[in-house]
Symmetry: C2
Subunit: 482 residues, 2 copies
């Protein structure tokens, strides 16, 4: 048994047989939907201020602390209502590049805030230590006068293309339910088939699929566990502060802002932390109830909660109903609620979530295996480009036309300039890829290279050509280093 | 705000800050460890029979049913002991290509087996329906005389580079524990610090890290849940039949073989299924006990089990001990054991496992975003190659030297043949990549292209060059289609 030359291998059968796996049509590179998602993230990362738009440019400083190339992520002139409501201060978000590591971050500026107590930075250090795949990590906090006032700036990881749960599920013209004459909410009737939780898609006023609700619950409770066990409260379980990345990954955003803004130096014993942690669980319960009540934020108003719970009981599993009831319950007097208590209600759904994550990993790995080959061929083609048609090397203008390089020139013609007997060009990416793969591996296979005047034919193996390329490229390389 | 030209974006900050994230050194392509793993899989997939090695070639048929290019995955002359022991028949494994879909599969041939009852194929259909990320999927079963006897062939997905738990954890010279004079096992003393389950790595005769044991438990129980809820028994929870792929992904292999080989048409009411399912759980308990007892298969012999349990209790959490005791218990008389009952013992470890899977997905996505750019540039460079130095088009031998193509020729020199003032070549991949990116995006940036005789300088924008390439390539393309 011997491994032979490199080539694109077909995809692995366990991936090819996956349902809904869309990449079959593309053997050489990744599926177009994933590509589109990554390109979209890419484009957003590259977005910058239009230098001609003075309205914006004037309001944005060139540099803030060690961050440059700021680009606002939301309209500057009208701070959104959500920002004001949630923090009690006006805030603005920018994308910016850190000059220390060259990476993109999000700066969240709190306008007109003068930091009073340096002790609150201890909390920042606690937050910086928490790393979790369902949290947006806080990187640093600093004060700045670069915006023309005393601003406090929170630096977070940048997740291009993320949207909030509020904008995905709770906004738009259909986001409020009609109200009956008696003041109760007019929930849409359950679907005729009477199937609870049947898949009616994620459309507005339809039922949210129960599976997706549990996926959200598992992710958010996972983040809460990490936060609570670090001795911190989250205080950000709010549709406007939870980011949705791609189709179903959640990340809680804005962590730590409340802790700093409301820092009370006289109360450094953190007596309020257990209270806030309890509130986190109540907020989670409200969020789940709102999602399960046809994406309606009205449903969690005090006067509607009972009606909403009945609606959930009618349309979803009893586990989900019990989870909401547990989270909304006020058990402070008897014993504290804990995020660990909801694990039995999640139960086997952990397996479902895990299976989905593993399959996603497998798909990614399959895509990566395909794309990996492209990087190798790009480097090979670059080497060939450096040698072919080089005007001169070491004062020798005929370098690229003589010796080994002549073979490589003819090989180049073989790869790119094939014609039919009638002289019609043949344009075929798979021919290019196959030739380059055999060249890269130095396959013993032989090919005929014809001179341009068709007067001579040379028979060489890919192995010979491989060696020619290596020596010719190394000649250029060592000449460049001399 | 406007998105500008394409380019390699730096990696995302949440990935750059991950601990143990090794790819920082490589901005243009994926991390070398992942690349190595994928290349290794790739090479194994490409392995084939050495046509000169007649010993092998003679014993392997050219074609079996719709499969060709067979390549044995284990020595042919001495069937391994495990194969004989586990199935009661001699079996041999081959890698082969299915001519219907061109994908690689594993054929497991059971020697000298004449299928008696076509009804057993119902079981095969049941197995084919189960798709799970911790199982090797069964694709089909057929009889064949291609090997010169009556063979039964089971077709599974091929997972290149997989090894069995037996070979990873239970083999080698250190795989048996010394035995004391009284016949008890001489377990190594717990580490001095007295920390139960402390990380002593996965070295032989050290403790297996508890976290890894739980990862195995979660994966195997996940597969068992899927199998049992489909009404089937697994019967393959054995170190020799569980594959380890990469660092920690398990897949149960060989499912369905027992069901077919021991098919009893007189007993079609499947009365034995609950019994075998109970045995699956007992086997899982034994496997966990063996792993937690310093990777010792002796520890699960009946006379050593009590001692092994004490060792586990001393070195691991009580959850793990209780799980093993539950799985090994014989509760047939009172009530049946169920894989669902172990979920509370796993508890919050689900979160840990899920977090690891999500982080892995994120890392893969980051790597893919980097490699994606290479595919785009490869295609671009191929287009340029098709145009540059083309000997003739439509009977015009000067096509590639005139008009737009002349600009592209000079641009090619600019990309690949840069020299310093002293005439020394400049070899710089990042220059190549940057130029190609700007060309691809049609950036408004202008560059000076100098003719080879240095007599004329042309100032053009990348946008102009982009349009030149598009029109020139399309000219070749339409000519090729005419």
């Amino acid at each position: 048994m011997l491994p032979s030359f490199h080539a694109y291998v077909g995809e692995q059968s366990h991936l090819a047989h996956l349902q809904n796996y869309q990449s079959r049509s593309n053997t050489f590179s990744m599926s177009s939907s994933l590509r589109q998602e990554l390109l979209n993230q890419h484009t957003l990362s590259m977005a910058s201020l239009n230098p001609d738009d003075t309205n914006y440019v004037l309001g944005v400083p060139q540099e803030v602390d060690s961050y440059h190339t700021l680009c606002p992520l939301e309209p500057l002139d009208t701070p959104t209502d959500q920002a004001q409501r949630t923090f009690g201060y006006i805030t603005t978000c920018y994308k910016a590049i850190n000059s220390k590591d060259g990476l993109l971050y999000v700066l969240r500026r709190v306008h007109g805030f003068r930091l009073v107590n340096a002790k609150s930075m201890v909390i920042v250090d606690q937050w910086k230590k928490i790393s979790h795949s369902n949290l947006v990590s806080l990187r640093e906090v600093f004060t700045s006068k670069a915006f023309g006032d005393n601003s406090l700036v929170f630096v977070y990881d940048y997740h291009p293309g993320a949207e909030t749960l509020l904008s995905r599920h709770f906004s738009g013209p259909d986001s409020t339910l009609p109200v009956n004459a008696d003041g109760s909410l007019a929930f849409p009737a359950p679907n005729r088939a009477g199937m609870p939780g049947a898949n009616r898609g994620g459309s507005r006023h339809g039922l949210m699929p129960e599976r997706l609700i549990w996926s959200y619950i598992i992710q958010l409770s996972s983040a809460l566990r990490a936060i609570h066990s670090a001795g911190l409260p989250c205080r950000m379980i709010d549709p406007s502060k939870i980011l949705l990345i791609g189709n179903s990954r959640l990340r809680i955003n804005g962590c730590g802002i409340f802790d700093i803004l409301s820092f009370d130096p006289s109360n450094s014993s953190n007596a309020m932390i257990p209270h806030f942690q309890q509130e986190d669980l109540t907020s989670l319960g409200k969020l789940v109830l709102a999602l399960a009540s046809c994406y309606s934020l009205q449903s969690i108003q005090r006067e509607h909660i009972q009606q909403s719970l009945e609606y959930v009981a009618m349309n979803y599993s009893s586990d989900l109903k019990n989870l909401v009831i547990y989270l909304l319950s006020n058990q402070m007097t008897t014993h504290l609620k804990s995020v660990n208590d909801i694990m039995p209600m999640i139960g086997a759904r952990f397996y479902t979530q895990l299976e989905a994550a593993q399959v996603k990993c497998d798909v990614m790995e399959g895509e990566l295996a395909k794309e990996m080959e492209n990087g190798r061929l790009l480097r090979l083609l670059t080497k060939l480009g450096v040698v072919n048609e080089r005007p001169e090397l070491g004062m020798d203008p005929s370098w690229s036309e003589t010796g080994d390089r002549y073979l490589l020139k003819l090989f180049r013609d073989h790869v790119f300039h094939q014609v039919t007997d009638a002289g019609t060009p043949v344009v075929d990416l798979s021919h290019v890829v196959t030739c380059l793969n055999k060249l890269d591996a130095g396959s013993p296979e032989k090919i005929c290279l014809m001179s341009r005047d068709e007067q001579s034919v040379l028979v060489v193996s890919y192995r010979d050509l491989h060696n020619c390329l290596e020596s010719a490229f190394n000649e250029v390389l060592s000449s460049s280093l001399s």
